[in-house]
Symmetry: C2
Subunit: 136 residues, 2 copies
């Protein structure tokens, strides 16, 4: 079984590049600056499906994604989560939260309707995130 | 500043013991078997506030808590999350989810009202969790 990104995740996001273990995506919801990390190995569902070494790499990727997102957005809080109730493929959300965002102080999942980025805002954010993540 | 568990977290949970970095609590909501990990260091808000070594220990604790919870509950899915939008002290939720639980397939936070355990069920679960976590 070869690795590929779940179709629903792929359809609702833009690829930013590869970190040490994960492919990193920008989730296409302009209401919340939101990265998704997907470990590049087929058949994963839970964090405990990873080896010790892979879990260390995952934590490194979470750290890099969190720092980059905080640097770019100047957010008030980070939300980091592996849920997978809807999309089973293991993926980790790293979300920049603001005290005036439309879901504060609740979680973002299932809150209202996704608002895709407009092209200009999207291009600008992708560029800033790639620079902060040291991705070409 | 000395470490102590946030008052709201402490009021809504039962202490299970100490893992490598974290104090582990059973959250007092019988609708969802739910552990909370609290790194035992004052002033933490984000995962990126930890040192590299502490982050490795945190991942070890998440792994141990996840395995124990899965073993004890035989759950369909694990949800692992550091949110902190309401309680700022860094804490990580490790939650056993079932496809017929009252919040499925949404997140548990902010869903309905907490239902405290009855004493017998609570004692039994605490015992099983302590055994699975190798805690006294």
């Amino acid at each position: 079984m070869n690795f590929s990104i779940d179709q629903r995740l792929a359809a609702e996001s833009f690829p930013l590049g590869e970190l040490s273990l994960c492919e990193v995506l920008l989730y296409d919801d302009s209401r919340f600056p939101w990265l998704v990390l997907v470990p590049q190995k087929a058949g994963l569902v839970e964090i405990i499906d990873l080896s010790d070494q892979e879990r260390t790499a995952l934590m490194d990727d979470i750290t890099d994604a969190s720092r980059a997102l905080k640097e770019v957005t100047n957010c008030h809080k980070l939300n980091v989560a592996a849920l997978g109730n809807q999309v089973r493929q293991l993926h980790i959300h790293v979300i920049a939260r603001f005290e005036n965002d439309p879901a504060w102080a609740g979680p973002v999942w299932g809150k209202g309707t996704r608002v895709p980025y407009e092209e200009k805002a999207h291009d600008k954010l992708m560029k800033k995130l790639k620079a902060a993540l040291n991705l070409g």
